[in-house]
Symmetry: C2
Subunit: 1013 residues, 2 copies
């Protein structure tokens, strides 16, 4: 089929319909030519824009037969597709109801009024109305049953008659145009009788006069009797009747009469208002309610602008008729755009010209006379037609019948298509059909829904309902096009080039506006229905992969979000642990330490990124399968342990390289890990595990170099599973070095998890005998208060003799902690200035990183604090020095640079548990060569002494924390040389001996916790 | 300062204010007790919820002095912070104007009416109104200047007087309560004189009667003279005056009188309506406009519910007074929540009780009498007070003065704080101040803005303006809290625990609703102002890193989007090239082939992910700096070439491992590369570059294994830079093997870029002499038509003798291409079923991957098509076989599995240019051992023959495409063994000899282009 037969004519036939014949004149009369023109223009623009969007979608490759539903569902995904499909189905079904109601209206009002079952003759007001509605209901049900039967039996014939129906429509329209031309020179004679400015019912009216001269006597007319209590001239008459004259007005003054000016503006009426003619003088007391109102033509409904929109809109629907036939078209990609857009242009022209011509030819009172009660019960548009009103009456009757049949044919097929897609489980039954594929059940459902429309019984009430559903559908067509255009996947290459996302967006907005203009509560209900279907489909988990735009969005969104991130590391306030978990795989590619993932899960209150990494030895080509197996094991374990995150298995010829790769290049862009979680090697003393030991120490070194935090759980198998619940106990933090605050943050995070919720946090600090340990405890408590952490504080005093050996450590301890605690003693004023300096410092650092430094992430964290002080403005340095000029007793030696480092978020502060000379800057990062290494310094001497220290400290820790559920300790920096490695490990072993669960923590060189809000 | 002195009292003083004294009675009268109660309740709920949010923010660490502005800006970032800060500033400034206006209103109306400059005595209607407004303006300006001077000179005294002002307020309120109690047993005597149901002005009224009996004579009163033309009893009087009686009503019937019932509902009035008493009978002709209306008390403005909200709201603002003093508080974290919430509770109680008590004590006409014109010009609330109305008048006068002063003190400081933050450059001047830090310029600006409010001159008009700004500010406080709660960074740990995001959200919605309820156009204007400031700050690029929630969102969003993605590979329709560019770094860590990035940029129409990867040899610890330098070079180049994406430099002990690692583990989660772009090694024949050759071939192998597409530009330095523009020429595609469609997609993408826009695409296919090359051309054109690609098609015929050598290749060519072309001949019906089968297949594959397979991404692409066919339901297989039962002449041997593989998106279809036995599945992935390798098969023989083929083909290509700007060729699969490597490279060299720019393309084993929409 070509463009004309396959798209243009079907579209034309679907668009032109009942509203044009039954309501258009009324719309023009009530809304005025201008108002109605605006409505028509808006609606036609909407469909035109929708057609453009649809054309783009339809020409982006082979269109599957099934038309608009397929188009939307394949571009917007099953959820939206289903919701919109159902809307479209409901719209089509209600359209069927509307056609049937229109059909009966024509039949009962214009063709055979006597066929009415509930006679309304003589009834008044509400009763007459109810009677009419009941007639519609009874006849509607009969016609619906009959039509359903026809569709059930012989759908073929329906399709074949389509052209006949179209012929009827075109003939009728031509008749109207002919009639209009005729009015120019010979207007038809449709007189209306008016009393004052009120239109009288033409029924029962013989002559439009109060009296006639018969012979010589003045005889009263029938009209007289209607208004007076007797037929005599001296009878008491209705006051209005007495006061006003009767005039006869030409109903169709013709196109040359200039009546257009009179019809230009709207004339909205309340229900039961009497149809009045503008500009005609009448005598009436405004305070007296009209009497005898059943003699006049009354408005049957209250009309207002937005109602008119709702009633008019159905007459522009049907633009999808062409694309629905895509399967039968010879060249769908060419025919659909051209045919549809041509059809819309044609019909828009017809509608717009009709509006103007009706306004120009017909008198306002006739236009507003919905059922032609003032013009002898003629169809108003019929009065204009040439050669006879009956052309229109019958033309519209047949076309309306046909349209009804077609709706009843199309809707079940649409439902069947949706049901067959299987996205809405409860619709599944409607996917089945008769042996020949006819959807019996779907037809039944359609008829039932249609019956709802019939029971509503009023064309004016049903029209807005279907407007809603169609508008919804059109909105989504536009959305689909706009979305795909903006997403620009390479596969979005419509043949139809004249689309633009802005047009689609405009169309979408128009649809939405029209929905709310028509009726905001219907709009909300329709959206509610669509929303429910959407949620239902989502709930049922329709895992259709149709390559829809909605899923395409995820990709774009992820990419966009990631691109935005790469601005630098987050501020301390936004710091979250982004954990890279390094797990080992055994020979069967199973995870060696599954509890590592339990621990990760227990840290999930941090809500950061989690990457689980593992390494496989070999080459990618040969060990590919192994890696996949490993990754599957990882994912399975992650699912079991409910760790949400990503997994990466890397194959490398050397395990060491693979681990290093993971630490270096895990994550992407701004979404990088900042913390490495690795378990303490268990059997590192055994010779065969030497590689493991080496790997571990290298990991420690690399994390230090990369400024990553490191968490090392020792004895990981003793850690609780996610199912366990500690009902009591403590998490003990041994705050020996303030290393970015990680030590304090971890217990807080753990305690968010059910496993640790009931554990209490304790913080131990070590004080010398000569320290004021009471003041110290108070200071620490204030610090914790400002950190908003709940913890018990205990100050452990150690003998001078015991602590002498720790001199260098002690100094560090004091310096760092006291620096922090000193903050608590700042006066308000100083604190205020402090805040200002924070602002300035962070501004400074950003200013610094912007112009040339292309890798801001590194630049901040790896410069020692001293450098950033140098770059500060003089004023600020003064400020800082001013602060340091009042040192607290416990920190007599703290250098300026350290004090800034410790206090300003954004600046790093990292201390390794190593030589004294390193203090004040971050030696392992910047000057690794200048730092002396405690583990290598004096091989024999220091070794013995160190072990002694470790033992002493261990004794204290064991004494205090043996019963603790978890002990957190600072982890010292790794040795520089290979020779110190075993000593280092030994040191850690001694330090943690006798403790059940130990978490060794090493900060990443930046504050992770802040007292500032 | 403690909670009471530091927070509670300041809040109380700021909240209670002018509206309570000047408008509350009127609000109750107009809105009714119920309506006003609703307003009060809504407003108080809003501030209470805001206080809760604010408490959470304020207790999340040390609050910087500066209060609410700091709180918002530090939680929502500089853009929002600045916008909200300015709103808050404007709100405070207009509040100042409101207080001044209130102050003058009290002065001019209640204290010294005779001080008015523009006398309004005797003036009527608009003139009186204008006079009054002008009085306000003149006096307002004077008072404002005076106050500004006071602030400028001695801000200290202002603060010290705060408590005095508060005392005034409290005293006044106590007086009212006392008065209320007194009314219970001894109501004060405030009679109002009513004519009919109309309230008469009390001014000029001696006695409330028409006549009095003086002696024995009946003498007319003053009142008589006002309404009649003479003082005699027979004078002609105002009709209403004649018809109605005068009654005297008790203005304050007292709390026991039950007047509450009468005041329960609203009584809204139009402007200039006469104040009428409900339920009092009166004789009046509704059609006759009231005469002598200047004798009655008139409504001065049209009142409606939403207006009342706007006027009332300012009386609940001021809740931030406590948090603004955070710097001076002893324990801000405890005091702010308790003090603020207590103050709000107290004031809410006062307001609510006032509403009820006013309604219960005072008559409606008095309540509605805004300026007390019916009660001798008394302040209405004053009439209720005990011991004297003057307590209230003076109390409110002083408190209002004080509030005005405080606003003028606070606002400049706020402006100064904003200016000092430096986020709004043009405000910078306001950051400076006098020597003592007083912000002189800011004070000047504040006074100027305040003057605007004064010029508006009406309290009722200014109140809604400041309501807007405060509501805006409160909305953002709520937003900040909700956001932080939902983001849950570890550093969000407010001490105040009784917050919840839902409460904050509710507060936010309430604020927004109130804004639109007050006045939707003011709301839009306020939002517009805020929006402009936001955009301005964004435009100025305030790179403040305050650790705000807005920036925290990016991280969460990226993580969330990425988590969502990991569902599987995108559908063919959503396929984009996600390119991993492998570049080499030279000794100085500069990029060796910068044109690779130009090419990447030219491919950006794909809008996919780009990762630029490079490798450095060494260890992470030692070569860290080098890697950083390399990464910086990469980023610099990416910026120059405008490639948006990510860079990764990996250090490894072996370069090979690093490259392999990039290919394996580049990207994260669902955001993985699917295409590798690597340049052809230039000098591979030289011995020293042997490693490079090996690396290249391994990359080819690994991409094949990993199912990644591979793009290899040869002679990359000859490629155009981004600045070049080809004005003509062709992009030639030699379609020898259909390898997922990459070959066709690449020219399309390139042509989206300016460099290639003018180039035309040509497609060459090779036909045998016995092929119907005309039909073939037609088929190819149809295929391209359906692919929506514009290209010329050329079928190159080769002699039988020439082509015999290509037998195996030819077979593949024919099979694949013909399979695709066959599709064009399908009947409509078949095509429809095809669509259905696509749906089913993709459903099948998803169903398959769901239950157990944890790595869906791999499972789809790596299973051969044959496997998925086996898993299909019987019905579907039949369908496919049915299709194959009608093979087209050109594909006599195509197996079922291939046909599905070629046609269904989501299934892979990959053919390597290798042995015939491999066809139909993806040998290199699944059965690498079964495949014979053409480059190793027969070392001597095949080598010669292969080179011959390559030469022959090369001849044809050179003949046709020598002038082409770019030639795209299929890249054959790599050899299995090392021995074949050099031959392979030689083959590629021969094949591409004599061509300027060649792009060798190898598909990734899945369709990337589809004819389906």
């Amino acid at each position: 089929m070509g463009t004309v037969m396959g798209v243009y004519l079907p579209c034309l036939q679907n668009i032109l319909g009942v509203i044009l014949f039954l309501r258009m004149t009324w719309l023009v009369g009530v809304g005025g030519v201008l108002g109605t023109f605006i409505i028509v223009f808006m609606c036609c623009s909407t469909t035109m824009l929708t057609a453009i969007s649809m054309s783009a979608i339809a020409t982006n490759g082979v269109v599957p037969a099934g038309g608009s539903y397929y188009m939307i569902s394949r571009s917007l995904g099953p959820e939206f597709g289903g919701a919109v499909g159902i809307c479209f189905y409901l719209g089509t079904t209600f359209a069927g109801a509307m056609y049937i109601l229109g059909c009966i209206e024509i039949l009962l009002i214009y063709i055979v009024p006597q066929a009415a079952i509930f006679q309304i003759e003589g009834l008044e007001g509400p009763e007459a109305e109810a009677g009419m509605l009941n007639n519609m209901r009874v006849y509607g049900t009969i016609v619906l049953s009959f039509m359903a039967l026809v569709v059930f039996v012989g759908v073929k014939y329906v399709n074949k008659l389509a052209l006949v129906f179209l012929a009827c429509v075109i003939l009728s329209i031509l008749a109207v145009y002919a009639g209009v031309i005729k009015t120019a020179f010979d207007p038809p004679d449709f007189p209306i009788c008016m009393l004052g400015n009120r239109t009288l019912l033409s029924k029962g009216l013989d002559i439009c006069a109060k009296t006639i001269e018969r012979g010589n006597a003045t005889v009263t007319t029938k009209l007289w009797k209607l208004f007076c209590d007797s037929e005599f001239l001296n009878a008491t008459c209705d006051e209005y009747f007495t006061n006003n004259n009767l005039t006869q007005v030409q109903g169709i003054p013709g196109v040359t009469s200039g009546i257009l000016a009179e019809n230009l503006f709207g004339f909205y009426m309340e229900k039961n208002d009497i149809l009045e003619k503008r500009g005609v003088p009448a005598v009436a007391d405004p305070d007296v309610p009209p009497t005898n109102s059943n003699r006049y033509v009354l408005a049957d409904i209250t009309s207002f602008f937005t109602l008119l929109v709702g009633i008019y809109f159905p007459s522009v629907t049907g633009i999808m008729a062409g694309s629905n036939r895509s399967g039968d078209l010879q060249d769908a990609q060419k025919s659909i755009p051209i045919g549809t857009i041509l059809a819309i242009s044609t019909t828009s022209m017809i509608y717009m010209s009709s509006v103007i011509l009706f306004g120009a030819c017909v008198d306002g009172v006739v236009l507003r006379d919905k059922f032609g009660e003032g013009v002898n019960g003629n169809l108003v548009i019929g009065t204009l037609a040439w050669p006879s009103p009956w052309v229109i009456v019958f033309g519209s009757f047949f076309s309306t019948c046909g349209a009804g049949l077609q709706s009843l044919t199309g809707a079940p097929r649409l439902l069947q298509a949706i049901a067959r897609d299987g996205i809405i489980p409860f619709l599944r039954v409607f996917g089945h059909g008769k042996a020949n594929g006819e959807p019996t059940w779907a037809l039944l459902l359609t008829a039932s829904i249609c019956e709802i429309g019939i029971i509503i019984a009023s064309l004016d009430a049903v029209a807005p309902i279907l407007s809603m559903f169609f508008l919804m559908c059109y909105m989504f067509v536009n959305l689909a096009c706009a979305l795909q255009t903006l997403l620009r996947t390479p596969n979005w290459r419509p043949r139809f080039k004249f689309y633009h996302w802005a047009l689609s967006f405009l169309g979408m907005s128009l649809c939405l506006s029209l929905m709310f203009i028509c009726s905001w509560y219907y709009a909300i209900v329709a959206m509610g229905i669509a929303g429910c279907i959407y949620k239902y489909i989502e709930f049922c988990g329709a895992e259709k992969e149709w390559g829809d735009g909605i899923r395409g969005i995820s990709l774009s969104a992820a990419r966009y979000a990631l691109m935005r991130l790469e601005e630098g590391p987050p501020h301390t306030k936004n710091w979250r642990p982004q954990i890279m978990v390094l797990v080992g795989l055994d020979a069967e590619q199973n995870v060696e330490q599954p509890r590592l993932l339990s621990l990760t899960n227990q840290l999930k209150a941090g809500k950061g990124l989690t990457i689980v990494g593992a390494c496989v030895e070999g080459t990618y080509l040969n060990n590919h399968a192994q890696a996949q197996k490993g990754e599957q094991a990882l994912r399975k374990l992650m699912e079991t342990e409910r760790v949400k995150g990503f997994s990466q298995v890397v194959i490398s010829s050397r395990l060491r390289d693979a681990t290093s790769h993971l630490i270096q290049a895990g994550g992407l862009g701004g979404l990088r890990h900042n913390t490495v979680l690795v378990s303490f090697p268990k059997n590192w003393k055994q010779a065969e595990d030497n590689q493991r030991l080496r790997n571990f120490i290298e990991v420690v070194r690399e994390t230090t170099t990369a400024s990553l935090a490191l968490i090392v759980p020792k004895n990981i198998s003793a850690y609780p599973s996610n199912g366990e619940r500690f009902t009591e106990g403590h998490i003990d933090v041994w705050w020996i070095v303030h290393d970015g605050g990680m030590l304090m943050l971890l217990p807080f995070l753990l305690r968010q998890h059910k496993v640790w919720r009931k554990c209490k946090m304790r913080i131990f600090t070590v004080a010398q005998m000569d320290d004021n340990s009471i003041q110290m405890k108070k200071d620490v408590m204030t610090f914790l208060y400002h950190l908003r952490l709940d913890a018990e504080v205990e100050v452990v005093e150690m003998n001078d003799s015991d602590i002498t050996a720790y001199t260098y450590e002690k100094t560090l301890v004091m310096e760092q902690r006291s620096q922090i605690l000193k903050e608590m003693h700042l006066t308000k004023n100083e604190r205020e200035r402090e805040i200002q300096s924070i602002t300035d410092v962070s501004r400074g650092s950003i200013r610094r990183k912007n112009p040339s430094n292309l890798h801001p992430q590194k630049s901040i964290t790896e410069e020692p604090a001293g450098v950033s002080v140098e770059e500060k403005s003089e004023e600020e340095v003064q400020l800082i020095q001013g602060k340091n000029a009042t040192p607290t007793p416990t920190s007599p030696t703290s250098p300026a640079s350290l004090s800034v480092g410790a206090m300003t978020p954004g600046e790093e502060m990292q201390m390794t548990w190593s030589d004294e000379t390193e203090k004040g800057n971050n030696p392992s990062v910047v000057h690794p060569e200048t730092a002396r290494d405690m583990f290598n310094m004096k091989p024999n001497q220091s070794n013995v002494r160190r072990m002694h220290h470790a033992q002493k400290l261990n004794e204290v820790i064991v004494k205090k924390s043996q019963e603790a559920k978890l002990v957190l300790l600072n982890m010292p920096g790794p040795p520089k040389n290979r020779t110190g490695e075993e000593n280092y490990m030994e040191f850690l072993e001694v330090l943690t001996e006798g403790l059940n669960r130990v978490l060794l923590v090493r900060g990443g060189g930046r504050e992770v916790i802040t007292i500032y809000s």
